[in-house]
Amino acid sequence: MKEIIFIIITFSALGIFTLPKRSQYYQMLVTQIFLIVVTGYLMYLSFNRIGPLQIYLFELIGNDVSLVIDSLSAFFIFVINITILTGALYSKGYLKPYLRDKTRLEMAWHYFNFLLLHISMLMVVMLREGISFLVFWELMSVAAFFLIIFESDKQENKDAGIKFLIQMHVAFYFIITAFIICSIATGQNIGFDSLEQYFKTYPSFPVFLLFFIGFGIKAGFIPLHTWLIHAHPAAPSHISGIMSGVIIKMGIYGIVRVLTYIHSDLMPIGVFILIISIISGIFGVAIAIVQHDYKKLLAYHSIENIGIIGIGIGIGVMGLAINNPVLASLGFAGGLLHVLNHALFKSLLFYTAGSIYQQTHTRNIENLGGLMKKMPATAVLFLLGAAAISGLPPFNGFISEFLIYTGLFKSLMVSDSILSVTLLAGIVALAVIGGLAVFCFTKIFSIIFLGTVRSDKTRHSHEVRSSMLFPKFIIGILIIAIGVMPFLMLRPMAFVAGVIVDDTSSLRDMAGTMSGISLSLSLLIVFIGILLLIKLKLSKVRHTDIGPTWGCAYTGSDPALHQYSATSYAEYIIMKARLLVGVKKHFRYLTKEKIFPSETYFKTESSDVFDDNLISRPVGGLLSFMEKIAVFQTGNIQHYLLYAIVFVIVITIISIFGII
């Protein structure tokens, strides 16, 4: 049975190259749906059985490779499948304009990599054996690389792709050293099984740190995130939706998988993850506010949400450390549910961003505005995603944050002074991140969609095809469903958290709270309904007319001029969080004596503190050093021969006098 599936997949994957441009997409879609059905069945199997589902595949140099699907992998399969499905459906409409100028081979190569990405992600989640895990991990990075540089005509996309590939290999290096250390110390061959034994005997923090850096680069925690802010904007929107929806979650999967094996010195690990996540959360959203490019802004928000997931996992680990099952189960359940939620609303946001890009061909929000009148459906969907990502009640973002909050508050009671201070730090961090997210998404939504048109870029934009809107509606419905009926998610999340936390009873008695939430939300919807009815009844009786916005009755200027610009909206953050955000202003200042001002200009650029110091400056230093060295590379042969001769002479002299 296994072989048949394997053959079907490889042949249909390779078949893409043979088909004409028109039908390559459908071939890919069919294969993906087939994959989803298969893995969905496997997921269903693993859900209602006690131990992990084990399927033997083949034997590889001495150890047998088999798919091991426990509830954690099943959950991630579910997340992967949803995002890939919606991404594929969306890509049909998104790639239509590219069909004209891309050759058949390029399109086929793109679809093939898309499929390869899907397969490798599924395998990464299902494999425990070291070598095969690392092979598929590498395949995932390579497939993602080719997808990113799809629009390779722009130089910055190629740079972003190369930067992505280099950093993925740095991550790969960390993971493989960690695996080697564990296998050498325990004598077993490379794989997750060797971890079990290693962590029993040796101190777990150093190796965990290696794993954390390796998987953290993939996930995008703060000091390791620099590839993310270049790769996401460069990739085509359906790919960046999938990347920030699910590819960075592979990093989270890796970390959680490693955590399932660790049982010693959990407290330092928990505190470490919590601190890193708080920094990532606040830092990510603070920089997002000052961005002018909406795709880069959404990329920074992925970092912020990884921070929130990290806070959940961090307090989960701390719960395990002081064996307080309530904190542990709520923390892990909240963190992992946020993985799903983030996959949903982040891919929705990136897809809507893609639709905007397709219609306006610009990513600078300063010359958008008033798009709501031209693209109402996209606007409503973007608003839905924005409210969800800010963690506002009727949507799913709130539920996972609520779980983390309850975990934090509940465990505040039972913890000693140092722990309660860190828990309070977590609460404050979550509140500030929520506030900053509201600040950022009110800005981005209002500047793009509301008010009057700022430039002629949006003149001939119109609503996107329904084929692109359909996948976004699915995600929208899922977001609202999780948001309004949270009790549905309790049982599966308890099941998933069960992998790490043995006693997840506290999740079950959250059912009362969850029903309380959905009751109050339904009350909210009832109130809105009643008021809307009153409004409709009144508007028939009352006299309403339309006029210009009240601008103090001044008619001399075009209204776009008076709108609040994005830089002005973010000015509070630029001023108050100068060290965090690092925005440089170019403005020739009107001196006091100059009575009548002359021509002047004003421009701001924002730069990422970590990107500059960790990457650009050292790389720059390296390059300049290399230039100095390059003086030897004179280009004519005689010099090179001379170097060789000199070298031989020096060696002979040294060996004669026996210096070495």
Partner: protein, 504 residues
């Protein structure tokens, strides 16, 4: 060859022909020689048509010895371009713009050549209120806040255009002209002198006494009439009463803008008591009708003096307590100190006058530099502040009100001993032909100048009103540069400049 004609404020008129007519080059050098010394500042510089030629008159005030220098130059009909003097002397910018707008003369090199008030007889009718050429900065990251003609409060219309980065104002431009009613043209209907008095009062209703006094003084100077001493004292008392009332009103307005309810409420009540005294004296809370040329309908009598003394004692003292409290409350000081600073250098360059100048340590007060009416025999104390911020303007109001109360008591004591002339205003006066006269009054905002030229038949040929706000509006634009936009209302209220005085 004489460069200028010397005369004094509130003295008899001069022959139009005596004012030396120079060529524009000479005229410009003369101005350069004068304006270099900061003791001189330009009162007014305007043009009018005189038998097919355009005659430019410039009045310069020398503060140290109270002299007024008059000079003029003429332009034949054909020429419509002159090179501008504003780059060297920014204080002339508003006058050159006014001439450019009314007569279509282009001043080459004028750095800020923009319309002034879109007057109905302007030369270039294409320019309309809606296409005012605002100053722009090249950036799509800045936003402009337009606080339009109709403001949130109950004040006169004017458009303020801010170029902002977030909450910080990079540049403010003020576009007025909404209140333009064409007063200067209406002043030329010589059929009913009472009309001229009522019109001059409605140039600026909040400075009714100041405008009426300047007009009456002008008519008396053109008709060679010297007001008797008691009439002069009454006029000075009326002027000072108006000054105290407005200063208390502005303190209340400053407290309103800052949200300090106690200060607002107490000062509002005190202002009502002061203007009710003026109403007790002449029947109108703003003193309209109180000052008339050649006499007065409402002579001061003992009952009114009693009322004035009682109110000034009681309300004056309470206002001083309240002002002390306002200017010592930390939350209020936090809003006034170091906000909206105009440096002395800037004040000199834009030719700020009156209160705007006195808060930047420039002692320009017509009551002591070019005394008029009874101020000639008894000069008041000039109040100066140094820092030029909102706090300085607030304190100036409080100290000037205190000074005025003391001054009124001195005048009242002098009034007892003067013999009462109780002259009635006489409206069929004859003005001397071909005369020119300047009458300057220190209204509560600053120096208010009325100029008139009579033709050969003795009718008024050209009437020019130069309100202190003409000089000071640009001071507000400078004060708000690089300030928070939320502090603009206090700066605006601390200056409290006139829209209808500027628009005429």
């Amino acid at each position: 060859m004489k460069l200028f004609l010397e005369t004094y404020n509130n003295s008899d008129s001069v022959n139009l022909a005596d004012i030396p007519v120079l060529s524009y080059k000479y005229f410009a050098n003369m101005l350069r020689s004068y304006f270099v010394d900061s003791d001189n500042h330009c009162l007014s510089y305007y043009a009018f048509r005189k038998d097919d030629k355009l005659k430019f008159i410039c009045a310069i005030a020398k503060d140290s010895d109270g002299k007024i220098y008059l000079s003029s130059h003429e332009l034949k009909a054909g020429i419509t371009a002159l090179d501008s003097l504003t780059p060297e002397f920014p204080q002339l910018h508003i006058f050159e713009r006014e001439i450019a707008e009314n007569f279509g003369i282009t001043f080459e090199g004028h750095p800020w050549a923009k319309p002034v008030r879109y007057s109905e007889n302007r030369a270039d009718k294409i320019k309309v209120m809606n296409n005012y050429p605002f100053y722009e900065m090249m950036s799509d990251q800045l936003h402009e806040v337009g606080v339009g003609p109709i403001h949130a409060g109950v004040i006169e219309p004017g458009h303020f255009r801010f170029i902002c980065n977030g909450e910080k104002v990079l540049h403010l431009e003020i576009h007025l002209g909404y209140q333009h009613r064409g007063i200067e043209n209406l002043m030329l209907q010589n059929d009913n002198p009472i009309k001229l008095c009522v019109l001059s009062e409605s140039t600026g209703g909040d400075t009714a006494v100041g405008n009426a006094l300047a007009h009456s003084q002008l008519m008396e100077s053109l008709a060679d009439f010297e007001a008797p001493e008691d009439l002069q004292i009454e006029r000075c008392i009326a002027l000072e009463l108006e000054r105290i009332a407005i200063h208390i009103g502005d303190t209340a307005a400053l407290c309103t803008d800052v949200g300090y309810q106690l200060g607002q409420v107490v000062c509002e009540a005190l202002r009502t008591t002061i203007i009710n005294t003026t109403q007790f004296w002449c029947g109108n809370r703003f003193g309209k009708g109180l000052v008339r040329p050649f006499g007065t309908n409402y002579p001061l009598n003992d009952r009114t003096v009693e009322e004035i003394k009682k109110i000034l004692n009681d309300s004056g003292k309470r206002y001083f307590d309240m002002a002390e409290r306002i200017y010592s409350l930390p939350s209020v000081l936090g809003r006034f100190d170091e906000i909206g600073i105009v440096t002395t250098e800037q004040a000199y360059r834009i030719g700020a006058v009156g209160m705007a100048a006195r808060t930047c340590s420039i002692p320009r007060d017509i009551r002591s530099t070019h005394p008029f009416q009874y101020f000639k025999n008894h000069r008041p104390q000039v109040v100066i502040q140094e820092k030029g911020d909102v706090l300085a303007r607030g304190m100036l109001r409080y100290l000037e009100a205190k000074e005025s109360v003391k001054y009124i008591f001195e005048l009242l004591s002098k009034w007892e001993y003067t013999e009462k002339s109780n002259l009635k205003p006489d409206y069929n006066y004859k003005l001397k032909p071909d005369r020119f006269s300047a009458s300057i009054v220190e209204a509560w905002r600053g120096e208010l100048c009325h100029f008139a030229v009579t033709d050969e038949k003795g009718n008024i040929m050209h009437y020019k009103i130069s309100d202190p706000s003409m000089h000071n509006w640009f001071a507000l634009a400078l004060a708000v540069r690089d300030q928070e936009i939320s502090d603009f209302p206090i700066c605006n209220k601390s200056f409290d400049l006139s829209y209808c005085g500027y628009d005429l």
